[in-house]
Structure formats: C-alpha cells, structure tokens
C-alpha cells in the first residue's frame, strides 16, 4: 500500500469505528426502556417510584409475587392459559389450512394463482373494526361470547393470509426438478411431500408458525370485545393496569415482562425470517 492512500484509509477507518459506536449507542437507547422495565420489575414498589430513579436499589421478587396473585388479587394464570390455547390452536389451524393452499399456489399451481394469492392479501387490509360488530352480534346470539374457540377462529382468519404468502414463497423455493425426479422414481404424492418438500420447507414453516403465534398472542381488540371473565386473554388482563392503582410500577413491569416473554422468545427464534413474514413474503 502506498503512503499516499494510507491517510484516507485511516480516516475512513476512524469514521467507521465512530459509526459503529453510534450504532451501539442508539441500540442501547432503544433497549433502555426494556432494560429499565426489567430492572424495575425486580425493585420494591417504594424503590420503583422514586425521582431521581434508584438504579442500585435492592432486588426483590415482590413484583412477580404480586403479579402472580400470591398476596391476593386476580391470578393471571387463567388469562395466560387462554392466550396459550388461543395462540397455539389458531397457529395449528393456520398451518393445516395454509399448507395445502400454498401447495396449490406454488408446486402445482392452479390457474390464476397470483389472483388467489392477492385475494388472501387483500383480506389482510380489511380493518378489524369493519367486521367486529357483526361478529359480536353473531357471538351474542349464538352464545359464543366469552368463548376462547371464537378467538381461535378469528385469529386463524387474521393470520391465514400471512401464512399463505410466506408458505407460498417457501414452497416455491423447492426445485421442481427434484419433485419430478422423485415422481419418476415412483414416489407417490404423500411420500414426495413428507420426504422431499417438508425437509426443504421445514425452517420456513417453523418461522411462519412463530410469526402467527406472535400476532395471536398480541391481539387485543377482538379479545377485548368478545371475551369477559372466562376467556380473557393475557393482553386483556394487562388492560387491568391502565388506571393507576397507587404504587404498582414493579407489578406492572413484572406483568408486562412475563406476558411479553413468549413473544420475545418466538421473535428472536424467528429473527432471520421475521422480515419475510412481516412483509408478507415480499422481502426475502
């Protein structure tokens, strides 16, 4: 390397390091509210509500004990179980409906398959409030109100378009030549699906499932309107903290963190495919 180009290279390297530091600082800044939430959840209520903030106060599990209803108060377990049932069951339904549909849109496509694909996408753009009232009236007249299975059906419809789009793009990655070769070797359709398609598409299917789980777990509007005491989900349980109840910051933080943990776990697990899911398969 000649001495003439050494100076610009060095200045570029210094600037690069500076931008790295900037990225770190902004990353930490964005994470600060979550870190503060985690720290506060381990503080006593008195230490949580100080100004200036008590960074180094003694740690305690009182917030979590309060949240789980150890000292009286509503237990969050029914809501957590409801959310788990609604999210897992709806994700399973989504996969059962989306896998065959994606197959018919990619590996053996029907006529006008892109139109069908875009029909699924267009339903995602219909706002939830547009159909909420008829669904509420229907549920009220058929005794489906406050029933977790109604949420399962609705969450399935909410996530099915995303899943069809994602799955279509994953299945389209399976080379047609392999399928044809397997077919020529005498393999029948179920065998081809299980032995050839599934192994290639499995990571994509897993990511799809995780993203559907996240959206179901997060949902509030349907759950708020259609459930009550029995089928209340975790986000609805959280709305109980909207009005202040004296010193309750540690409890709120513990509740928010516990209820967000499944989403954080699922999100980090699906990190690489997250963009593809959120952009409905448009970005890879």
């Amino acid at each position: 390397m000649s001495t003439a180009s050494a100076a610009p290279v060095r200045s570029r390297r210094i600037r690069g390091a500076g931008l790295g530091v900037a990225a770190w600082l902004i990353g930490l800044l964005f994470f600060l509210p979550i870190a503060w939430m985690a720290l506060t959840s381990f503080h006593s209520e008195a230490d949580a509500a100080t100004n200036p903030p008590s960074w180094a106060a003694a740690l305690t599990l009182d917030g979590y004990r309060e949240f789980f209803g150890v000292g009286g108060g509503a237990s969050p377990w029914p809501a957590l179980i409801n959310s788990t049932v609604a999210s897992l069951a709806s994700t399973l339904c989504v996969l059962l409906l989306a896998l065959p549909a994606a197959y018919a849109l990619s590996i053996r496509p029907v006529k006008k398959w892109t139109d069908v694909l875009f029909f699924f996408l267009s339903t995602k753009m219909l706002p939830v409030v547009a159909g909420l009232l008829p669904i509420y009236l229907f549920a009220k007249n058929t005794d489906f109100l406050d029933n977790i299975w109604l949420l399962v059906i609705l969450y399935t419809s909410m996530n099915l378009p995303i899943a069809v789009w994602m799955m279509q793009s994953f299945l389209a990655e399976v080379p047609v030549a392999i399928i044809e070769a397997a077919h020529l070797d005498g393999a029948r359709l179920p065998t081809i699906l299980a032995r050839v398609v599934a192994p290639i598409a499995a990571p994509g299917i897993a990511a799809t499932a995780l993203i559907c789980f996240i959206f179901s777990w997060n949902e509030l509007l349907f759950a708020r309107v259609l459930t009550g005491v029995v089928a209340e989900t975790a986000p609805v349980f959280l709305t109980g903290f909207i009005t202040s109840q004296g010193l309750f910051l540690a409890k709120v933080c513990a509740a928010s963190l516990v209820i967000s943990l499944p989403v954080l776990a699922a999100g980090f697990a699906a990190q690489d495919k997250l963009v593809q899911g959120l952009s409905l398969g448009a970005v890879k």
């Binding site: 159909g131 986000p235 933080c253 509740a255 967000s260 970005v283």
Partner: protein, 312 residues
C-alpha cells in the same frame, strides 16, 4: 383484487373443461386450496357485508325494537359529527407521523447496521426487541414507567440535568401515543430497509467508488433509487397496521384528550354507546380509507413479487 401477472409456472392446461377427466384433474388441483379460501370468505367477507347492511339502519342495541331503515343518514351523521370528523383527522395525523418518523429513523439505523462493526448481531437484536414487546405491555410501559410525571424515567433523567418536569401525557397526548408507536415500529422499518440494503448490487457500488463517487453520491444516486420500493413497502405496510391501531390509543389515553382515532371511535360507538348503525357507517368509511391505501400497497407488493419471480 387486481393482479396483472399471469401464471408463469402453471404448465398443466386446465382450459379444456369439456372432458370429464381433465375437469376432474382441474378440481383435484384446486381442492387443496378450497378449505382456506372458503374459510377466509366466510370469516372475513361475510361480516363486512353485514356491516355494510347494518350501516343503512338506525339501530341502537339498547332499543332493539326501534330499528328502522335509515338510508344514508348514518353516513351523513358520521361525516358531520365533529367528534367523528376529529377522529378521522387524528387517524391521518397519527398514521402519517408514526410512519414517516419510524421510516426515517429506520433508514438511519439500517444504514448504520449495514456496515461491519464489532457486535453488529447484538445491536441488531437490541434494536428488534421493542417490536417484540406485546403492544399493550409496551403502551403500559410508556404510560406508567416512562411518562409518569412524578417518578417516570423521563422526568427522572431530566431531574439529573435540572430540566423541567412535564406531564407528558396531559401536555402532549397525541405526541405521547406517537412516541410509543414510533419506538415500536422503527425496528420494523429498519428490518425491511436492511433487507433492501443487503440486496443491493455491490459490484456496481464498488465500480462507482473506483470511479471516484463520494459516499453521498452513491447514497443519492444508487442506494436511494434501489431502496425506493422498500421504502414504499415499509410505508404502506406500516400504514395498514397503524391506521388500525387500537392498543396504544386505548391504553395510553383511553381515547381521551383528542387522541381517539377511528378504530377507537368505532369501538366506543358500538361497545359503549350501542349505536350499531352509526358504528357500522364509520367502519365502512375506515374500509374505504384502507382500500385507497391498500390499492397502492398491493401494487408495490405485486411489483416486488414479480421481480422476485423473474429473478428466480
């Protein structure tokens, strides 16, 4: 909806519907699709049709016997009611502010993360985290833990520098809601734009650099045009989600202080005021607004989709 592409992969001609055998085969091809398709039509399209019908009735569920056909009266009332008109404006303002701010921030972060530096993976993970907090929990976090005027973190930090101690939510309610949403949606934009940056043609950029183009010139003339489609996609998908936002408005201000957007107003109109007809008319208007955004969104998605298909 409108999709202009034709099937490039469909090899089996299903046109000749005359022969029973080929018709059978056509149905065998369609069969796996039908459950999902029928399910979507029943669960999403039928309720909307019902909403459309109800929107033409004067119907308060507290007085079920007084239900009567009202023509366009509900729409007239929705469009002239000052509260509802205000909520239309609030929805526009909220959506535009959040989408633009998170798009700009997301672009900056994506550019920072596109470079190699120590711990890039960790920073990426830290930045994604806000998007992975349950929306209600995130709203509660901002409302009680950050914004609280007496012992919230913001005023706590301001205390160190001797700054003022504002009551964030009462003083700037809409901005408070927007701030929490921008915090949650910036990671989303960053992820989409980062994917866009990483799909650039690096040889072309190297060539431009060899030819003496400055970083700004490369950004302005190569990166930005390439990112245009990703920016559009982020803006439109973000708009679709944020137009529908309910959680943050419901949690942080409960629709008070002029922050009620359309979804919240529709919810309140039928859930608390029991005005079914009025709520449905407002719902139909939300749909019309969404269709306008969606038409653009579908066009962008379909052009990206075609690009991917032609590349494959």
């Amino acid at each position: 909806m409108t999709a202009t592409t034709t099937a490039p992969m469909a090899t089996a001609p299903v046109q000749s519907a005359g022969k029973p055998a080929s018709r059978l085969r056509a149905w065998a091809t369609r069969a796996p699709l039908l459950p999902a398709l029928i399910f979507m039509i029943v669960v999403t399209q039928l309720p909307f049709v019902a909403t459309l019908v109800i929107s033409f009735f004067d119907w308060n569920s507290l007085y079920p016997d007084a239900r009567s056909f009202a023509g366009l009266a509900n729409y007239q009332q929705v469009l002239t009611d000052p509260d509802l008109r205000r909520s239309v404006w609030t929805t526009v303002l909220l959506t535009v502010t959040v989408v633009l701010a998170s798009l700009v921030l997301g672009l900056g972060l994506a550019l920072l993360l596109d470079r190699r530096f120590r711990g890039r993976g960790i920073v990426r993970t830290l930045l994604i985290a806000p998007f992975l907090v349950v929306p209600v929990a995130a709203a509660l976090l901002w409302k009680h833990v950050l914004f609280n005027p007496e012992y919230g973190l913001f005023n706590g930090l301001l205390h160190y520098v001797g700054g003022p101690q504002p009551d964030w939510i009462s003083d700037t309610p809409l901005l408070a809601v927007e701030a929490s949403l921008i915090w949650q949606w910036t990671p989303f934009m960053m992820l989409i734009l980062l994917a866009g940056l990483q799909s650039r043609d690096h040889q072309q950029i190297e060539a431009a650099r060899v030819d003496g183009a400055s970083d700004w010139q490369i950004f302005r003339h190569l990166t930005l045009p390439h990112l245009r489609r990703y920016l559009e996609l982020g803006a439109l998908l973000g708009s679709i989600y944020i137009v529908q936002n309910f959680d943050a408005v419901f949690t942080i201000t409960s629709g008070g202080l002029g922050t009620a957007n359309l979804p919240y107003t529709v919810y309140q109109t039928f859930y608390q005021a029991h005005e079914n007809g009025l709520a449905s008319a407002a719902g139909v208007l939300v749909v019309i607004g969404s269709i306008i955004i969606a038409t653009f969104a579908l066009r962008v998605v379909s052009s990206l989709f075609r690009e991917e298909a032609s590349r494959a």
